[in-house]
């Protein structure tokens, strides 16, 4: 079969101890029987490993942080597009999604296809809006509140018991067993990700996750549930196994059906001893463990590219239960020229 030759720009190439989803997304696309991709990496830092992984990424460009404004980011994207003719853009960081969602009409005008959640979907699933989300869509969520000062933690002690979960608006979450710990985590997260900080009621149980893809019309294109088998000190899965849990899949279909979710997502859930499922977070993109879904028979990155291009996509109906991913670290030997090129010319 002739494969479609397309150019796909991907970010999130920070394959470090808290990895971005870029390389796993690329691996899924490279496994595709439909596409012969040229992968263009969009990197923020000189040492993002993906830029040096030439088997996966054909060409990489430095891009400005989204915090510098979507105008500056789009200017850089236009430059890169002029050289590369990007067909599809897959942003993989929560923190850059807003800028790309806002720029979607312009990207479309340039001929760059995306398949992102809508601004409304993105906003209402924010950690700080989770209680309202749970009420609106009839999903169990832990009680939580967004706060902007340490004093508010003291006030929360009237309603919540320790431990409490202290979360950043984009990343990071810590379990605090006392006010002193909560204070430390508040400062730590606020200095890294800014305010507000979300304080969540701690739900006792097992953390389980689902990677899923919604077609934007309420249909779930695919979904694979997973339990982390090994968790790093940063709370990231270093190993995980696919589960056979119809309740998790029902909940995923319910959420995608109700929100008409568009694009990739990761549901973070807690399963209590009573087997109730609490939604603790929705990440609005494919997660770093998405290649487990590919290995289990659901190539969600490939399906995402098809959706972006407006191609027909068949719904996945099955996946292999009981297969694992085990992450590993690997030292690449890179030339100084490569490093120099990315540092000085902003491309590699």
């Amino acid at each position: 079969m002739m494969k479609d030759e397309i150019t796909i720009a991907v970010s999130g190439l920070n394959n470090v101890d808290s990895p971005g989803p870029g390389i796993p997304v690329v691996r899924g696309i490279r496994d595709s029987e439909y596409f012969e991709p040229r992968i263009v990496g969009l990197v923020y830092e000189n040492l993002e490993p993906g830029a040096y992984m030439h088997d996966h990424v054909d060409k990489s460009y430095k891009v400005p942080y989204p915090s510098e404004g979507s105008g500056v980011l789009m200017e850089r994207i236009r430059d890169i597009h002029a050289k590369e003719s990007i067909d599809v853009l897959i942003p993989n960081f929560d923190s850059e999604l807003y800028a790309f969602m806002k720029s979607e009409p312009e990207l479309k005008r340039l001929g760059i296809h995306t398949f992102l959640p809508t601004l409304q979907q993105f906003e209402e699933r924010h950690k700080s809006n989770l209680p309202e989300f749970g009420e609106k869509y009839k999903v169990k969520v832990p009680e939580s509140r967004a706060i902007t000062s340490i004093q508010e933690i003291k006030e929360l002690e009237e309603d919540y018991e320790y431990p409490m979960v202290i979360k950043g608006k984009f990343y990071d979450a810590f379990i605090a067993y006392s006010f002193e710990q909560a204070q430390i985590y508040f400062n730590k997260i606020a200095s890294k990700w800014g305010l507000p900080i979300v304080v969540q009621q701690y739900i006792r149980g097992t953390e389980v996750n689902v990677v899923a893809l919604g077609d934007g019309r309420g249909n779930t294109v695919g979904a694979v549930p997973m339990k982390k088998q090994y968790i790093t000190d940063k709370g990231k899965a270093w190993g995980g196994i696919t589960l056979d849990d119809p309740k998790m899949l029902d909940l995923t279909r319910h959420i995608i059906g109700q929100t008409k979710w568009r694009g990739g997502m990761e549901l973070e859930l807690i399963r209590t001893d009573k087997k109730e499922l609490y939604l603790i977070e929705i990440n609005p993109r494919l997660p770093a463990w998405v290649y487990l879904a590919v290995g289990a028979g659901q190539n969600l990155p490939e399906a995402l590219v098809k959706l972006a291009l407006g191609y027909p996509v068949e719904t996945f109906t099955a996946y292999t239960v009981g297969i694992l991913f085990i992450r590993y670290s690997y030292d690449m030997i890179c030339s100084l020229q490569d490093f120099q090129s990315l540092t000085t010319r902003g491309e590699l």
Binding site: T206, M226, K227, Q229, I241, L243, D244, D245, V321, G322
Partner: protein, 84 residues
């Protein structure tokens, strides 16, 4: 008492619960008991089979068997109807 239908047990004594994602390993005697459970035999029959095969006092065996079944229940490997 029945093992949940979806529980996978390998010949090497590896148990995988696909709902929870948890896995366990059995020693050879544990494996024998779980194999008999999978055949649908009840506790009395299993106890009888083990007594026939091994030199063990009935009281001692029963104590260990109840402990073992208690563990299987605790790990939620037993059909829910049986847990009531």
């Amino acid at each position: 008492m029945k093992l949940k239908k979806n529980i996978a047990v390998s010949e090497t004594g590896f148990i995988f619960d696909p709902t929870s994602g948890d896995s366990y390993t059995l020693n050879p005697i544990g494996m024998e008991i779980v194999t008999l459970l999978k055949e649908g035999l009840d506790l009395e029959v299993i106890s009888g089979r083990i007594l026939e095969k091994y030199d063990v006092e009935k009281g001692v065996l029963e104590r260990y068997l109840y402990d073992f079944f208690g563990q299987l229940k605790q790990y939620q490997l037993i059909e829910e109807d049986d847990e009531r």
